[in-house]
Amino acid sequence: MNWLSQILSIAVFNLRSIPARLGAALSAVIGIAGVVAVLTGVLAIAAGFRKVMTVSGSEDTAIVLRAGSDNEMNSGLSREEARLIAEAPGVLRTAEGPAASSELFVIIDIPKRSTGTDANVPLRGVSSAAYNVRGNMEMVQGRRFEAGKNEVIVGVGAARAFRGLDAGSQLKIGPDTWTITGIFTSGGGIAESEIWTDAAVLQSAYKRPDGFQSVYVRLESEAAFTGFKDALTSNPQLQIKTTTLAEHYAEQSSGTSGFITGIGIFIAVLMAFGALFGALNTMYSAVSARTREIATLRAIGFGRGPVIVSVLVESLILALAGGVLGAGLAWLAFDGYQAATMNFQTFSQVTFAFAVTPALLFTAILTASVLGLVGGLFPAIRAARMPIASALREV
Amino acid sequence: MSTADSSLVRIRDVTKTFHRGSEDIHVLSSLDLTVAKGEFLALMGPSGSGKSTLLNLIGGLDRPTHGSVEIGGQRIDQLTERDLAAWRAEHVGFVFQFYNLMPVLTAERNVELPLLLTHLSKSQRRQHAGNALKAVGLSHRLKHYPRTLSGGEQQRVGIARAIVSDPTILLCDEPTGDLDRKSGDEILTLLQTLNQEQGKTIIMVTHDPHASIRASRTVHLDKGQLATTAPE
């Protein structure tokens, strides 16, 4: 009999005996399923958060802040500075003028729908070019706000997460009342967590007639960024910091997504150890329950290799079953789950959906396989090393 | 030949029926047996004749479907499970075919096991265990684990465990069944000595005629009933 068919016949023989050891086999499968589900779940949170940030930013859009500030919250630009930035070379020109939006960014307290406690919801004052700069804004309900009026539009994520943000209702901020004229999407980007209004109206409400915090621009092309940045940096009238939106959002999300990923991986690693011990136990007892059978096989001429491989195959099959089960559970339970958390950098809320991506599913199955192989390896070696003569007598 | 005072075991009209599926299996039917104090009785019979079942009934491991089992004047078939366990601890020593030692305990600790149920102090327990092992000739194997002992030695430990609490009766189920002839002979000699020198009442199930001739009396079981009493 050749090697392969030896392996096959022992493996089939092993697998057939699984029903007899259902409890142990199931506990290994469940253990591994648990690890995989948790790993996938936690990484899906981080992936979902990152996704919001990455779809928001692109290489052909840029944000300009005051030099020394690390986010919009503590930046500040004057009307004159904003004008100089909009006129810089590299900014895309359209029929309505340069694709540059001077913006104001504040946060307001609105209760969460889930808990009823106040959360810091971002309120953004934008110029008319903002839609063009973002590029993927779409009204899914109602209409855009009208310039000069106390009107706002609400991102679909914010509308879902916070109380009273429905199209047509009124929003009271300080002494002023604003009408919500519509709900918008922005391709899953961070703007969906925000409330937008006319920058000029927000300036007067906040008594900052000439103040902006940032300028968002759409460039002629990705390549235009360097020229744009150099032009601004070399202008002695400007003290600013220029980054592409892709880079800006990567920076902005690093704290929160690092936190989630860090804790997630920590849990997953610890848990993997727990599951590994479980898998080892299962396979060791599977081997020891079959001591006599294995010895008999060896006595009638099966080699060591096939015995080792067959134990590994069994363990791998159990682990894969656990992996598929766990990944499936995580996908069913978590994919698309809507959540909101605070972005540490701006102290403002970001709404996002958990994303169980194909890459994550692959990681999950891979983890399960590794656990299965490691969990099977040592017991397999023990099985192969068993002295045949004494093992035959084992009861 | 046995009088009321000298009879230790009295089994009257005992029937034992097992249910297997819808089928009733009559292992023992209307069996009577008396064993006198100080006897060394061999129970012989083919497989399935009910000899182990009878031994279990005498040892209080099982109850008759019908009939009475009286040991030392006490109806043990009427005891509760709890009382029965306590009764076994005090009155019965078991010797098994496969020794049934605890693989995780040394010879000494195995023998000490039944004494855990008594009020003896640790040092007293150790002393009794030592004496019992000495009686079976294993004083030099106190700290050995069962797997490091030969079959004959393991069975001696088994016997030491059975006698350590000085039981009323010693019940042996095929004590030589798993041993070679020489070791088996040694075990039988040991049992004989215990019977003759210490007056222990022994009931031994065996299918080996060679073993049964060491007993003071042999009874044959067949299909759940006493067949003939072998001539002395």
């Binding site: 409890g23 142990a24 506990s27 469940i30 253990g31 648990g34 948790v38 779940g41 949170i45 020394g68 919250m73 503590n74 504040v106 307001i108 307290d109 889930s114 406690t117 106040d118 959360a119 810091n120 300080g174 002494p175 936190f259 804790i263 849990i267 610890l270 150890f273 727990g274 599951a275 011990f277 479980g278 136990n281 060791y284 007892s285 959540a339 909101a340 958390t341 605070m342 102290f347 | 182990s52 040892g59 491991l61 499970e81 709890r82 366990a85 306590a86 076994r88 005090e90 019965v92 078991f94 098994f96 496969f98 049934n100 600790r109 096991l113 039944p114 855990l116 149920l117 640790k122 465990r161």
Partner: protein, 387 residues
């Protein structure tokens, strides 16, 4: 206890299996410890909150300032005993990674409102005499990257407030290092003098972040809060007053879903591992049917056998469980790996207790099935399995 030896010997029967079981339970309880430390950290502010303290802030949002003149007006509201103010400074030392909480405060009123912080009198005196003086909490001063001592001059920059005019950074002199009387209070904060701050900053002069007040013993917090908010209604700076606990709860809720999810996930982890470990423990009893039969033949009563089996699983669960809890506690006591997110991270005492109870519960739960099996086992049948 005379049966201990027997239990111990049984645990040593399959050393590898016992060790693996111990390890997986250990890991579960290690996680349990961390879980509760994190959960506690999320709620730390709430736990530390003083019932008599209220926070007065701008109604629209926390980032909107209030005028410093409000302090005197708040102080006149009936039921208000003491008032002080704080302002978020967002200071950084050299590198954005060296981020910590930093706030300008009123050096005279601060300790009146926050008696849980203790500063030696000579250091307090020195701070009150030093215009650019600052005090730092023990855990901040001891940070490896900082290692500040009294007398050090530390340059701090703030992305929010920039620098004082014509200076590259805010140079604070460390006048004192404060401790806390509350066990798990956070001491990773730097406080400096508001008078110096207000004079040196280039914008926002005359504004503060929020007010902290202490109400009189017999005053009702809701009533006082309502009165304060009414006082400033329809002004350009409307206020929102709430108890410290309510504000902290709100803040924790902002992290919100993430905290809840972490906890749900960790619970799932915990129970999965326990399920697996429990199965192994049950299995190890089932494998011993014959031996249990022998024990019963020898005269061990069913109850005694049941107790022995239970004791065995309880020993495993307690040994591993307590070790896991202990190690979790110890690791966090030695080093807090996430100081930038949770300045105070420790396994709370209640969690240690709960963990110990859970470990015992696990021992009983995993032992009870096999123990009942051992109890019901018919002795004769158990012995026959061998022949």
């Amino acid at each position: 206890m005379k049966y201990l030896g027997l239990i111990w010997s049984n645990l040593k029967r399959k050393k590898l299996r016992t060790v693996l079981t111990l390890l997986s339970i250990f890991v579960a309880f290690l996680l349990f410890g961390f879980l509760f430390a994190i959960k506690d950290a999320f709620g730390a502010g709430v736990k530390m909150a003083d019932a008599d303290r209220l926070i007065v802030r701008h109604k629209v949002s926390f980032i909107q300032p209030l005028p410093v003149s409000y302090g005197a007006r708040i102080g006149q509201v009936p039921g208000v005993q003491d008032v002080t103010h704080l302002t978020w400074f967002g200071g950084i030392y050299q590198d954005p990674k060296n981020f910590f909480a930093s706030m300008p405060v009123d050096q005279d009123q601060f300790f009146v409102l926050y008696p849980e912080y203790t500063l030696p009198p000579d250091q307090l005196y020195h701070w009150k005499k030093t215009r650019n003086g600052a005090i730092v909490g023990r855990s901040l001063a001891d940070r490896k990257t900082l290692n500040w001592k009294v007398g050090d001059i530390v340059p701090i920059t703030s992305p929010i407030w920039g620098q004082p005019a014509n200076q590259p950074a805010w140079n604070f002199e460390i006048c004192g290092i404060f401790d806390t009387t509350k066990k798990s209070a956070d001491t990773s904060t730097l406080y400096f003098r508001y008078d110096y701050f207000d004079e040196a900053r280039t914008r926002g002069k005359g504004e503060v972040g929020w007010y902290t007040i202490r109400i009189a013993k017999n005053a009702a917090p809701e009533a006082v809060a309502k009165k304060i908010d009414e006082q400033f209604a329809n002004s350009p700076y409307e206020t929102k007053t709430e108890t410290e606990a309510a504000m902290m709860t709100g803040f924790a809720q902002q992290m919100g879903d993430i905290g809840a999810i972490l906890i749900a996930v960790l619970s799932a982890v915990f129970f999965t591992i326990l399920l697996v470990a429990g199965n192994t423990m049950s299995q190890s009893v089932r494998e011993r049917t014959e031996e249990i039969g022998v024990l019963k033949a020898i005269g061990f009563s069913g109850t005694l056998v049941l107790l022995l089996v239970l004791a065995e699983s309880c020993v495993i669960a307690l040994l591993a469980g307590l070790a896991g809890l202990g190690v979790a506690w110890m690791l966090l006591a030695i080093k807090n790996p996430v100081a930038q997110w949770f300045p105070v991270l420790q396994v709370p005492d209640e969690a240690m207790m709960l963990g110990a109870v859970l470990a015992l519960g696990l021992g009983i739960a995993t032992g009870v099935l096999p123990a009942c099996y051992a109890l019901r086992l018919r002795t004769a049948a158990a012995l026959r399995r061998n022949g």
